[in-house]
């Protein structure tokens, strides 16, 4: 798998997220209070809400539209609701965040 640098860990606010736009849709990059980084496709399994706009708490995010709680690590819906947001693999190298190139719609050079 090839990886593409999409920015620095510092560019994502703690307990917050940023978006990477692709032709296939947005990817939400999350950073937890203890500075772990996760990525999910930016769509809540419930009604497609932008998870990147939610409140990040511990290792989950609450969707801004209807308060579904999504686990950041695997994208699974927490609690009695059912569903799963699609996870995107991430890799951290020297303070930079990398995503798989095929996900970003392009091959590595």
């Amino acid at each position: 798998m090839n990886w593409i640098d999409i920015g620095a860990v510092d560019d994502v606010p703690v307990r917050g997220s940023r978006v990477v736009t692709t032709t296939a849709g947005d990817i939400a990059i999350f950073k937890t209070a203890d500075s772990r980084v996760f990525a999910l496709w930016d769509k809540c399994p419930h009604k497609g809400g932008p998870l990147s706009q939610g409140i990040v708490h511990d290792d989950s995010v609450t969707c801004p539209l209807h308060n579904w709680v999504i686990g950041l690590e695997a994208g699974e819906v927490r609690g009695p609701d059912q569903g799963c947001a699609r996870k995107v693999e991430t890799r951290l190298e020297a303070g930079r965040i990398l995503l798989p190139s095929h996900i970003l719609g392009r091959k590595a050079a």
Partner: protein
Amino acid sequence: MKKKLVIVGNGMAPGRMLEHLFELAPDLYDVTIFNAEPRVNYNRLMLSPVLSGEKTYEDIITHGDDWYLANGVTLHKGSKVEAIDRVARTVAAADGTVAHYDKLVIATGSVPFVIPVLGHQLPGVVTYRDLDDVEKMLAAATPDAKAVVIGGGLLGLEAAAGLKMRGMDVTVVHLMSTLMERQLDPPAAHLLEQEFEKRGIKIRTKSNTHSILGESKVMGLKLEDGTELPCSIVVMAVGIRPSTALAKASDITVNRGIMVDDQMRTNDPDIFALGECAEHRGVVYGLVAPLYEMARTIAEVLVEKPAAYGGSVMSTKLKVTGVDLYSGGDFAEAQDREEIVLRDASRGVYKRLVIKDNKIIGVVLYGETSDGPWFFDKLKKGEDVSKDRDMLIFGQAYAGGPPLDPTAAVAALPPDAEICGCNGICKSKITDAISEKGLTSIDDVRAHTKASASCGSCTGLVEKLLVLSLGEKYQANAVQPMCKCTDLGHGDVRRLIVAKQIKSIPQLMQELEWKTSCGCAKCRPALNYYLIAEWPGEYEDDNQSRFINERVHANIQKDGTYSVVPRMWGGMTSAAELRAIADVADKFQIPAVKVTGGQRIDLLGVKKEDLPAVWSDLNAAGMVSGAAYAKGLRTVKTCVGSEWCRFGTQDSTGLGIKLEKFMWGSWTPAKVKLAVSGCPRNCAEATCKDIGVICVDSGYDIHFAGAAGLDIKGTELLCHVDTEDAAIEVIAALTQLYREQGHYLERIYKWAKRVGLESIKTNIVENVEKRRNYFARFTHAQTFLQVDPWAERVSGKHAHEFLPMRSFPMQIAAE
């Protein structure tokens, strides 16, 4: 022949002992008392009223000269005993008086502790112990003179209040973070601090004295942090030390105090120690109730009745006129304890019972203390209170009353009755889920049925269904916790933020023992609001704890785009503003433009990355954020009023604009919508708003607590005022009261229902001083809040919010 009883010291404890003794056996002993003070027995507890001028020395004498005469007691006034000869069984005083004893009671009391800081020997440094001290203080208490009291305990505060009543400018310096920390829990201590500050007494907690300034007399006091407090008198009230020198010199065993057994005997069986100089089972007592218990024990032992002192749990009452405060027992927080708390914010009442194993072990009462002894009696007797627990906190008057059955109404509902309107859940669906899935809590019901999971207005009903289905098994929490991260309710959290001076979310989660590492989407926005409301200008807003709409100052829509609503003051706009809005709509290809219910214009479907540019253009035309997304002031709807309308009685538009210009930017527990109607025809629909004004010929009727959303509810009339300025003051004060008391997401009508209309009227209408204070606090907070968030973001604040981290716009073909 009568036996000889000699008493060294003539304080309250020996006085009480003699009363018991004479009652039991009036002729058994010949009594001789040596008193170092040149006085008869007076009530030392009443020194504070003497200091404040509410009583005189004569008023507080318990035993006058005639009492000693009548009981055949020899009293040597101003005679200090210097030696005990235990072999000869005599005592000798400094003035040469010698007395023989069969039984001797040492009741030398205690001496005030003086901190040995630089300057502690200067004239003007006094302690607070006896009438001489009071006289010294009174000599210094010229009006406008300044006093510093070191020590925020019982004595220090009484001294401070007394000196203040004598017209002095008083500052209390206290080492610990809360006043009377040994007798009060932080919330009550906080109320007390407020009360003292209200009286104009300055309180400095967490302050350590460095030195006392002055050459030949006291000129001031310097704190460790370098602050200098000018003053002409320093009162040291930092504690007492048992007077044990006489006992020690006579080879009587002394630890901190004179050691006594349960019969109050020292190691010499004919010598007793009584009062503050005695140490019983490792404890030295300084409060009056235990001393009286000791006095009774000795009296009984002296007449050879079987008696034993078993130690005391103590209760305290502060003797400052107008401050009702009672505490007793152990009220520290611990794992195995529960508490029952009752608060009445408007009356300044705080009651807390600490319960362990179904017994009261601690009582703290503030503002309303008449039930103190009743609770304390249950505490001392170790009574099981589980039976009366529900009504216990209401005190004796309600004890044993029949509990109401709160579930009857819900039980009567048919199975298909809708309980949760948001999610369309009926009664049977909830009760079935409870029984089939074994649900036991509100959270379970929310998770499995969605009932009460949206707006929460049916929570009470759902709770009653749980009670109905589960009976005794359902343990409702005394307070509804804020969320799963804590057992504390909103009110407790707000109280603790103040009491513990909590100024950040991490600090709060640490100190209040949050169960999650960084909260959840429910509690974080609430905490952020509470901290903003509590510490204007001090607390730094935590953007990541805000819901997206407040974070980006626009309203998220179902497709992830945003809507933008500029302010239109009082619903007034102009051709220029409308033109600018039209231009923005064209330029950014905004798909929908709609007129809102709050008399302004909504631009719907704005892409997030366009937001700053849209705002920039709107700012350029003089428009600011309408805060249509905020838990804060939204709109002030108006009619055209006397400017245009033939029925208008006042300038309703003008007042609406003034209100909106004064109140915009304010954060509140939930959204706040206002309206001003120019006459009772009420075209601005003011009587279903959070706050509404109906103009009438004679002025302005101010209404509040209306609702036209989840619930429909007409407003309540708060008051009538004559002028616009008065209307603005009342409305801002009301909003501030709500800001300080409301639970997050609790609209004004719900808050009013919870705290009661009467308490709000008392605070805002009847008590002019309180209203002014609320108004002042609102005004102060506004100085930090009236910054247009759009302009801030146009100039670059939180730019990361609006830009993608990186964009990959095109599919690049594989090589």
